[in-house]
């Protein structure tokens, strides 16, 4: 809390101008960082100093800053989100770094994620996957009583585990094949586990997987990097469930 605990870090940070295909690493030093500040607050501090010097700040995305909106996402020292497990970039705190440490900061990189500027990327591909079936078709007003279908607690809990995905894209960024299988698998699993999801199960699996391929995401070859970086601990078991759902659907549509 006292200023004497403040630290200095050296950043090796990716900068890329809007509309340009190539970027580069630029070095900055930030001092006077409270160890209680978050990683993004450290970047705020960097940007304040850049503005003061009349330079352009480093653009990065963030919103809730408490790990739930999925907006932020940086590769820090080679690891998507954070060297600390199961958190999003915004939940990483500077007390995890040593005074004088050098930190490399890059955007999430994957072919379907187009770079926009500096650390900001376009993840619209994930929305398009959802648009192909990441829902249950229930128009407003058409529902029966909420308690009409009992759902075993274990199933509901598993569905919730899958539904916890924040759609940040870290799974894609960490995958050697840039696969979106954990993201897509989590959504397919959530609805496969719930009775409400069954009527559309086949269509959902076929369409979402097809869209995933169309967007240029790679195949899953079981590296498991996605699970390791997932800020919400989404299990790779969801990919297995997606495969089962997909093959069931393919067989049935023959």
């Amino acid at each position: 809390m006292t200023e004497k605990n403040n630290i200095t870090v050296h950043l090796n940070i990716w900068r890329q101008k809007y509309g340009e295909k190539k970027g580069r690493f630029v070095k900055y030093s930030v001092d006077g960082i409270s160890p209680h500040s978050s990683f993004l607050e450290m970047l705020d501090l960097l940007n304040e100093s850049l503005v003061k010097k009349g330079e352009e700040p480093v653009e990065f995305d963030s919103d809730c800053r408490e790990g739930i909106c999925g907006t932020c996402g940086l590769v820090i020292n080679g690891i998507a989100h954070s060297p600390q497990q199961a958190i999003a970039t915004c939940q990483l705190h500077m007390r995890k770094f040593k005074d004088g440490e050098t930190i490399t900061v890059e955007p999430f990189r994957a072919k379907p994620f187009m770079p926009i500027k500096d650390l900001v990327i376009d993840r619209g591909a994930l929305d398009r996957i959802i648009s192909k079936g990441g829902y249950i078709s229930a128009n407003a007003g058409s529902a029966q009583d909420a308690n009409a279908i009992p759902i075993p607690k274990e199933k509901a809990d598993l569905a919730m585990d899958a539904a916890a995905c924040i759609g940040c894209g870290a799974c894609v960024a960490s995958c050697p094949n840039a696969s979106a299988s954990l993201f897509t698998g989590a959504k397919i699993s959530q609805y496969a586990l719930l009775p409400q999801g069954h009527p559309e199960a086949k269509r959902r699996a076929l369409m979402m997987v097809e869209q995933m391929d169309k967007e240029g995401f790679g195949n899953c070859s079981n590296h498991g990097e996605c699970e390791a970086v997932c800020p919400k601990n989404i299990s790779i078991g969801n990919i297995a469930r997606m495969r089962r759902e997909f093959f069931k659907a393919v067989l049935r549509s023959r």
Partner: protein, 637 residues
């Protein structure tokens, strides 16, 4: 200015039903001919856009984030209320209605609040049908928790991520309509102005946040679902992009702004530490179910919490409110925390925090039970503060969290500008002077799934709407406004950063228009803010250009609007010579220091009219009539 709340006649319980029965309808084949512009994709905007798409309207939706799924609603933790009475504990629509109107300190509209309580049932049905994975008991039925001081257990939840799951449900429905072609999605757009043609809201002007282009969209109605304005205080529990810009521009174009001074300062947040913080994370209110709030009895006691013996601790909420104890409503818990800190008994090196202690609950129930209930929150606290709440009490302090004020709307959710509808936290309508826990999610979804699909049809069917194009003068004017503003912001090149001025505004607001207010402080604020505004326009430094992604420029634009809104909040607070809900005036308190309402003079909704940039706004009143409930003094003793 004349305005009418258009509350349907008949007994309270039948108003909504009879309203629906008498609405003008749009022929199903004609719905696709109407273009609706929905701004915002939180629970209100997301659910509205999806439902309107389902009905067959042509919908365009806009949001600031890169995906509609990231709207600030995603961060809601605790739960959503519904008067299902699944727990057989005496709940019903009336009780939820009464709790909400009483919780709002009798400063809300009866008819709206009753409708909200009724719709709570439909919302739960809808969300379960969408596959929202709510918590369930072993029998497979939905689980409930009691929340925010309610005496019944009516809050439904999905772990600590209720907002996320509800929003993903609405977002899924929205994306389904995108796929069906009824809804077109425009992410990374910020609405900066409204186009009024023929006296009606007929379009919006946005800045494309990637390319910097100024874009115009014409339509038959505009739905503003842009959330609350807590970041006027700089630090709040809201997301960093939450803002008032769209609502503020509509105010300046003629929509009335109601009750701007009603803000909710939430008692259980991470305390402020220094200037490095960018937000104050909320620690769920549910923690107060088992945690005990205390400070040392002695002023300036610097001992560690665990070294302070039991008889030297002041469990001030339990002492002052024996029947509700730690579960008193948010405004009361917050104000009391502030008071003990003002007395010099606050903890943390800053002196601005109180303890929330689980020692006794762990002793009574065991560590495992506490871990089951709050494990993820304890982990979150540990990660944020570096301290372990199983061993040492949490430190918390109130932070701005929710704004009850907003654009004035009638029963149809329409503002005083015909065609401009306002939904969710952006309107003023359902919570009076204080919102109860788990009621904001309910309101956003009630507005979007159920109210607007009915109300919009009636508006469109009953209104002459000649075709308009984006070549209209109104659009040119709006574009000109935006371009001039962007250029001006970029050309000042002063010596202060946007953030520095925002921090200054936040300090003034928190000090003088925060948990307690008084005449002198408010008058001072009304003088100070225009000076700060002037400094902003002369001395801010916004780097970069307007031709691509420039977050400093976005923030500067939003701050320029907060710098005007803050003043209106102070004016409203000064005008309201009483204490009610989240608005506490030091001059108006009972002998025991509780909020003292003045029903004779202040049973009204304030509705401010913009009169021009250099003129004082004019206040209008919507008198509140209580046909069915009798305003009583809230007592939680």
């Amino acid at each position: 200015m004349k305005f009418d709340a258009k509350i349907p006649g008949g007994p309270l319980e039948q108003k909504w039903d009879s309203y629906k029965g008498h609405l003008k309808l749009v022929n199903p084949a004609n719905k696709r001919k109407f273009n609706l512009l929905v701004v915002g994709t939180g629970l209100a905007g997301g659910s509205a856009a999806a439902s309107l798409g389902e009905l067959g309207y042509n919908v365009k939706v806009f949001c600031i984030q890169d995906s509609p799924r990231r709207a600030h609603s995603i961060a809601a933790q605790g739960g959503i209320n519904a008067a299902k009475n699944y727990q057989n504990d005496g709940d019903n629509i009336w009780r939820l209605f009464y709790d909400t109107i009483k919780g709002g300190d009798f400063r809300g509209r009866e008819a709206n609040t009753y409708r909200l309580a009724e719709l709570s049932l439909n919302i739960m049905d809808q969300c379960v049908a969408q596959g929202v994975p709510f918590a369930r008991d072993y029998g497979g039925l939905l689980a409930n928790r009691s929340f925010g001081g309610a005496q019944v257990s009516r809050t439904f939840y999905a772990r600590g991520q209720t907002g996320q799951q509800l929003l993903l449900g609405a977002y899924g429905s929205l994306m389904r309509q995108v796929n069906a072609g009824t809804v077109e999605m425009f992410p990374r757009r910020e609405m900066i102005d409204l186009a009024i043609i023929g006296g009606k809201a007929r379009g919006i002007v946005c800045r494309n946040l990637i390319t910097g282009e100024i874009e115009s969209y014409a339509g038959d109605a505009v739905l503003l679902c842009t959330g609350g304005y807590s970041p006027v205080y700089y630090l709040s529990t809201n997301a960093v992009n939450s803002n008032a810009t769209a609502a503020w521009r509509c105010y300046k174009k003629g929509a009335l702004f109601s009750n701007p001074c009603y803000t909710q300062i939430h008692p259980t947040c991470i305390p402020q530490e220094g200037d490095h913080q960018s937000k104050l994370t909320l620690m769920s209110e549910s923690l107060r179910n088992d945690g005990r709030v205390w400070v040392p009895k002695k002023e300036g006691d610097k001992r560690r919490a665990n070294d302070i013996p039991e008889n030297e601790r002041d469990y001030f909420l339990e002492r002052k409110y024996p029947s509700f104890g730690n579960l008193v409503p948010r405004d009361i818990a917050s104000r009391n925390a502030k008071e003990v800190c003002d007395d010099g008994r606050g903890v943390n090196p800053t002196g601005r925090a109180v303890y929330l202690d689980f020692r006794d609950a762990i002793e009574r129930l065991g560590k495992q039970v506490i871990a089951d209930r709050y494990g993820n929150l304890f982990d979150m606290y540990l990660n944020l503060s570096g301290e372990n709440p199983y061993e040492t009490p949490m430190m918390i302090y109130p932070a701005p969290h929710y704004t009850m004020g907003g654009l004035w709307v009638d029963y149809n959710l329409m503002s005083t500008i015909p065609g401009l509808h306002v939904l969710g936290e952006a309107n003023f309508s359902d919570h009076g002077a204080n919102r109860l826990g788990a009621s904001a999610l309910m309101q956003g979804l009630a507005d979007g799934y159920f109210v607007i699909p009915n109300a919009i049809g009636a508006y469109l069917a009953g209104t002459e709407l000649p075709p308009v194009s984006t070549d209209d003068e109104a659009f040119k004017e709006a574009i000109n406004y935006v371009n001039t503003k962007v250029e001006r912001l970029l050309s000042i090149k002063g010596s202060k950063t946007v953030r520095e001025i925002h921090i200054e505004l936040g300090r003034i607001m928190m000090d003088k228009v925060g948990m307690s207010r008084d005449e002198a402080g408010l008058k001072e604020t009304i003088e100070k803010i225009p000076k700060l505004r002037e400094e902003f326009w002369q001395n801010v430094n916004v780097p970069g250009s307007g031709d691509d992604l420039n977050k400093n420029l976005e923030m500067a634009g939003r701050l320029s609007d907060f710098l005007e809104l803050g003043e209106l909040m102070a004016r409203d607070a000064l005008m309201r010579e009483e204490s009610c809900g989240g608005h506490f005036r030091d001059e108006y308190q009972t002998e025991e220091g509780e909020a003292l309402r003045n029903d004779k003079k202040f049973t009204f909704v304030s509705a401010w009219e913009h009169k021009g940039d250099d003129k004082t706004p004019e206040m209008h009143k919507e008198e509140l009539e209580f046909d069915r409930v009798t305003p009583s003094q809230r007592s939680y003793k």
